[in-house]
Amino acid sequence: MSELSPTPEYSLDDNAFREQNPMAEFLRMERMPHIWCPGCGIGTVVTSFAEAIKAGGYDMDKIAVVSGIGCTGRVAGYVKFDSFHTTHGRAIPFATGLKLANPELKVVVISGDGDLTSIGGNHLIHAARRNMDMTVICVNNFTYGMTGGQVTPTTPTSANASTTPYGNTEPAFSLPFLVDAAGATYVARWTSLHARNITKSIGEAMKHRGFSFIEVISPCTTLYQRRNRLGDGVSAMEYYREDGEIQHGADTRTVDIGYQGKIAMGKFVDRPRDTYLDAVVKHLTSVIGDDYELYGKTPMEKKAEEEARKSAAGKGESADICEDGC
């Protein structure tokens, strides 16, 4: 929520509403109302994310959400998973450490275009290159929402932003092309109008082993839309409906977005490749031998287990003896 936006007028502190809300399972309802402006697309992404998890039947205790800083960065604070709100641009390296330390986690990064592609751009390409097993959802609203509508690396050329008051002269990153070139193994793009497609893509991305990236073009109604006189959230939906074009499998070199231009959408990349950790474990096993074990049990843990097994065996001897084929 930018300093420019009005305080949202909600009356959601009705406990009954909170408990009955179908999202209550996924959201920290005690933190509602959220800070996002009316018409903002971030909420749609959160809903689609929750739907994807519901549909995927995941163990919700094993999902971790990591965000950077920004309006989108606030997502981590609202979702009811192990969730981390880190520093600006650093969600991906944080998520990298989290995933590598506890490989059984499904790690999902949800953050903004500025966060992931400007200050955090270096981390983005390296995580893609390594095929780090995580899902990155980038809410691209073409602007820095949180700080009041400045230009970002994804702002289309000629668009107006508070730090390009005469129009943006720089070319924009085409994110699918960027992450594809860097090595991402799953890449999709939708707009916030296409909630069901986002849900489906998030589901696929979370099942995918490796670095999956989903860009969601989304309106910042308060800043980007207003400053460029593009109307409200409804106008943004009209634009997405008219100019969004499904092009599954499109060559990512062709999917850049000009100012109010066509938006190519769909799944662009889905290819298998060893994840970072798969490659490490495979290689070390081949070099060191079969007794290589990542975070293998410590000798003390093994001893404790051994003892526990012995004492359990002492209690239920008969079962053990039979299993041994007596």
Partner: protein
Amino acid sequence: MAEFPKIVSADPKGVLTGRHFMDGDHALAEGALAAGCRFFAGYPITPSTETAERFAERCPEVGGLFIQMEDEIASITANVGAVWGGKKVMTVTSGPGFSLMMETFGLAAMMEVPMVIADVQRGGPSTGLPTLTAQQDMMQVRWGSHGDYRIIALVPDSPQECFDLAVEAFNLSEIYRVPVFIMTDETVGHMHEKVVIPPAEEIKVVERNWYTGPKEEYRPYKFDGKHGAPMVKAGDGYRFHSTGLTHDERGYPALTAEDNKKLLTHLIQKIDNNADKIIRVEESGLEDADIVVVSYGITSRIAIRAVQVAREQGLKVGFLRLITVWPFCENKIRELAGRVKAIVVPELNYGQIVLEVERAAAGKCKVISVNSCGGAVHDPEEILTAIMEGAK
């Protein structure tokens, strides 16, 4: 409540028991492994690289993981993430990398993450003297990240102490849920000496203070000004939140001056109130000293030579080596200042810790700085001259 701190013997898998001829950088890595560190995200920089290389080589043998990240910001942030993934973590760097890590040190302090960072100091500012020694980051480690917070910083004077203090740093970080820094330097880092690594059962390791109570009652933070709440790791089913924003004990953003006061007071008091327990110094001849030399790290090994010569000349010179530089031993200095003529502070910077000494001495005795621009250790003569001046 569960036993706290829970002290166990080191896991033998990570302990290279024996007598070694080893440099300080390698000893740091061995100390970390002995302390149970199993994750290390790092980025190469002289003169710290050997620690990362050692870790990379040793990791597979102990089931740990080393990853070379794209830069120091990524390294330190991955380490913070890995702590929440349940691991004990360390990284090493030097000046330029240390500067890059600053923002995340604040995050680590704010999230109350136990972790260890070693700065093998080299001459600065900027790229400075990549291969030459210095102690110029002593204030940076204390104040370098924005905002108010506390950290712990230890300074080894030998490869042996690199090993010993690495274990101690991990233990302190687990007890106080705070980033702990090992402020070594190029000379200690590259100096080869005897390093004795004891048998695993003689190495005492503080285990993470794992939470074991009911899930509904779990709070990631406790602003008690003591040592903070027990921890869980992501994936344990607590579904908790942690943020760099000012937060409440649930970890939820709480953004008023009042909330900030509760949080900050805790971050500060858990170190300040335990300073006496944390601080370690080595001292000799303080009882009847007229002059005291206060030093730390490699400089103390030069200073001790000057102290010996001065004593041979009949001067009553005491020697105080700071093993813990932060929190600062201000009570000790205050007490000394009340009864000695002068305190001499040699250090490989233009006068950093001497400022703390002056603050604590509060004008009660002379404080003489023997500063340096780094690049080489002192000549004992310089320190001797300062001792003589103090004796006047």
